[in-house]
């Protein structure tokens, strides 16, 4: 992550704040031990969806630069799934845009998690709380 942030900041003295978010694979979910997971995605649409989410964030806040990296394929517990970095002049824009990007990514970018548990592999169900989190940004508009 340090290398990604350094690359984003290089030569940009207008940047006064950098907010980052890292999503990590937990070793337990819904009461079951998780040995690993596989992330499936929709190649092509995934990139377009992330670009659209980032451009919406740039339209709403004073953002100087953003970086989104999302992994696919098989991951182990403690592996990093997603990195969001937002650079802006002030912390308010950086925090808000970073949270907005994550909330929208969780509900709009075409990724699906399949967990490996003691009882076999299972597709992770979408959470209503994620829809509510994304919906907050609509109300504030």
């Amino acid at each position: 992550m340090s290398a990604e942030i350094a690359a984003l900041r290089r030569g940009r003295s207008a940047i006064g704040a950098v907010a980052t978010f890292i999503g990590v694979v937990r070793d337990v979910n819904e009461g079951s031990a998780v040995a690993g997971m596989t992330l499936e995605h929709y190649p092509g649409m995934t990139e377009k969806a992330i670009e659209e989410i980032v451009s919406q964030a740039q339209a709403r806040w004073n953002v100087l630069d953003t970086l989104v990296i999302h992994r696919v394929g098989r991951l182990n517990p403690a592996d990093q799934i997603v990195l969001v970095v937002v650079a802006s002049a002030h912390r308010g824009d950086a925090f808000a845009a970073c949270e907005f990007i994550m909330d929208y990514l969780k509900t709009r970018a075409p990724f699906w998690k399949k967990e490996e548990t003691g009882g076999g592999a299972r597709w992770v169900e979408a959470r209503e709380s994620d829809d509510i989190a994304a919906g907050r940004w609509r109300l504030k508009g």
Binding site: G23, L39, M45, M102, L105, K106, R108, P110, W112, A126
Partner: protein
């Protein structure tokens, strides 16, 4: 008058995650009947296959759709050459 080749409409349909596994395929090409004009029409065509198709794509199931890699709804038009995708609610991040 003979049917014109212009009337033949073929789309690619993609399935992801649980739907892909349940239906046993990730991709297929479908010749669209003249009456099918939108995403809802394509879904109904697939439901009419019965069995797993009818269950997995039933109107009360939480199935999301995209046309040409953009979020779509039931009334989103579908045209010749389009890429239509059906998938469960997303769970990334």
């Amino acid at each position: 008058m003979a049917a014109s080749v212009d009337n033949i409409r073929v789309i690619t349909v993609l399935y992801f995650a649980r739907l892909r596994e349940t239906l046993g395929t990730g991709s297929e090409r479908i010749l669209l009947p003249a009456a099918v004009r939108d995403v809802e029409g394509v879904r109904a065509l697939l439901v009419a296959r019965g069995g797993e198709w009818e269950q997995a794509l039933a109107p009360n199931r939480p199935v999301r759709a995209a046309v040409n890699q953009a979020v779509a709804h039931g009334d989103t038009p579908v045209a010749d050459g389009d890429e239509v995708a059906f998938f469960p609610p997303v769970t990334g991040g």
